[in-house]
Symmetry: C2
């Protein structure tokens, strides 16, 4: 039986076997560089598991899985330009190491290369694969735009936030699982259930990220704890806190999230103190668990032997238990 | 029989009937805005003509034709960011009117939307349409990168320049004609001939642009004559001049193209004087005519009634006779 780790290894080996072009170097060096960041490779891993669920051969799903990972890296590359992020996973971002023009264009190339790999799926599922992938790509762009818009707004509701992370993050999990299902030979209902499963999983994943940003162990998570608080990001914990805050707490949170401060440590601990008074950790965890539970329900509804579901069930539990 | 103008009108009407989403406005307003620039719409026009050549219904080719035009506009949008161009067709560029982040992301969206429209082709030709379009997208990125690289190089050969414009410009003409052929029901040989025809046409088109930049009537062309000279662009006329120049002319050209000057008018007229001594206008025109002739030969080789070829032949002649 495959674990996340086993699927990650199969995928990583296949990815490192790919020979991307050498020339022009300004285009393909950044492609190789960003792929060398590593990362959890969760989207391709779920694609492979989705294929296996329906009895498909995961070898035949490897190239589409690479396509999904290339697309994900395209979004990271362009998002990092827009966020002016200097680092990702402790390494220089592409626009920092090269320049913005190279980052724009190598990102565009990654997007096109993603299609090239997805085109390697079986011909009979190609139209559906192309349809869901293209729709997803558009939605991911919309999600990123909402995310940027929310930076300058103080009236974001939790529903709007959930819709934003659905578009920015969750649809790509949904798309990955659906493409896996299609390559594995799923019928319409099965493919739809896996799409829904991925959507709930993706929302849960982002809520978990929000949670871990505030409460994880810095050394393991690899990001500074409280980074979202320092950046005044309107995450689920913040929006939930606003919703349940007393008027003085509300005022204080709004004020803390409106400015840059010289003392980030003091800011983070004051915000965490308010979160603690309002049980934000538990509220966020409840919301996250709710989405994980929905994802498991979606999986339960799929009409294949329960035995076959073991891999995805354990992948979801592994994901839920992550502390980084 | 269709003229360029008739096909342009059919296409423009269809394009203006499209309802792009409204929200998020930061994403879709720039999409509508860049499409409102207008332009010659040559790529979709050739796609429609390619479809008609094989007896296809151009109505069925309209959505893929829109896809090609969306892709072309995506490349303009991102190229304008990279070139820091303030204006296109006399109107503010997207990154100028909004900002760079919006230009990056609405460009990405245009690219994905292009696929959404191309997916509307007939199912039986979908794999081939996706394959040629995706390969073309990658090549266009490569061409843009070579173009940027050439800005900082003084050793660009004419062959390297022709390869750059093949990638940056010509492959999209080739792709458009091939997709037209496929949607029109062409066999492999026919689709290949139209691809080659588009490639030669695209190179001819770019050489003509190079020529018109130096010699056209400013009022009609809509760009300042000599813009490429002012920008020190290494176009065909410049590279041809270097190839045939005496050592003093060579030295002078290199020196003129290495710096910005306060007196662009004097610079342009000095360069044009050297071009004139070297018959650059005639050399460039000969090269252009050669590619137009090859395009017509590719078309001749297609096994359909000569009568059906009339439209494309006249489109090519119209294009060749353009003075702007």
């Amino acid at each position: 039986m495959y674990s996340i780790k086993a699927l990650q290894e199969i995928f990583s080996e296949s990815l490192s076997d790919q020979q991307f072009k050498q020339s022009p170097a300004e285009l393909y060096d950044p492609v190789r560089y960003i792929l060398s960041y590593g990362g959890k490779r969760l989207r391709p891993v779920f694609l492979l598991a989705g294929c296996d669920l329906f009895g498909g051969d995961i070898q035949a799903a490897l190239l589409p899985a690479i396509g999904i990972e290339l697309f994900h890296n395209f979004t990271l590359l362009h998002d990092d330009i827009m966020d002016q992020a200097p680092l990702r996973r402790g390494k220089s971002t592409v626009h920092q190491k090269w320049d913005t023009n190279i980052a724009i264009l190598s990102g565009d190339t990654l997007f096109a290369l993603a299609y090239q790999y997805l085109l390697e799926c079986e011909r009979e599922v190609l139209p559906e694969v192309m349809e869901v992938f293209t729709r997803t790509a558009i939605e991911v762009c919309e999600g990123q735009q909402w995310d940027m818009n929310f930076e300058n707004r103080s009236d974001v509701s939790i529903d709007q936030y959930l819709e934003m992370i659905r578009l920015k993050t969750a649809v790509l999990f949904a798309c990955s699982l659906k493409i896996g299902a299609l390559t594995g030979g799923a019928d319409d209902a099965g493919a739809r259930s896996l799409y829904d499963c991925g959507m709930n999983l993706g929302i849960a994943f982002q809520l978990q990220d929000d949670l871990l940003d505030v409460y994880s162990d810095e050394d393991i998570f690899g990001k500074k704890t409280g980074g979202d608080i320092v950046a005044n990001k309107k995450t689920f914990p913040y929006l939930k806190a606003l919703e349940t805050a007393s008027s003085s707490q509300h005022e204080r949170l709004i004020s803390l999230f409106q400015r840059q401060t010289d003392d980030d440590t003091a800011k983070v601990s004051e915000v965490k103190e308010i979160y603690s008074q309002l049980n934000i950790r538990e509220h966020t965890r409840d919301a996250m668990n709710d989405y994980y539970a929905r994802a498991l329900q979606n999986l339960e509804s799929v009409r294949v032997d329960d035995q076959r579901k073991g891999i995805l069930v354990s992948l979801i539990h592994e994901m839920k238990d992550r502390t980084y």
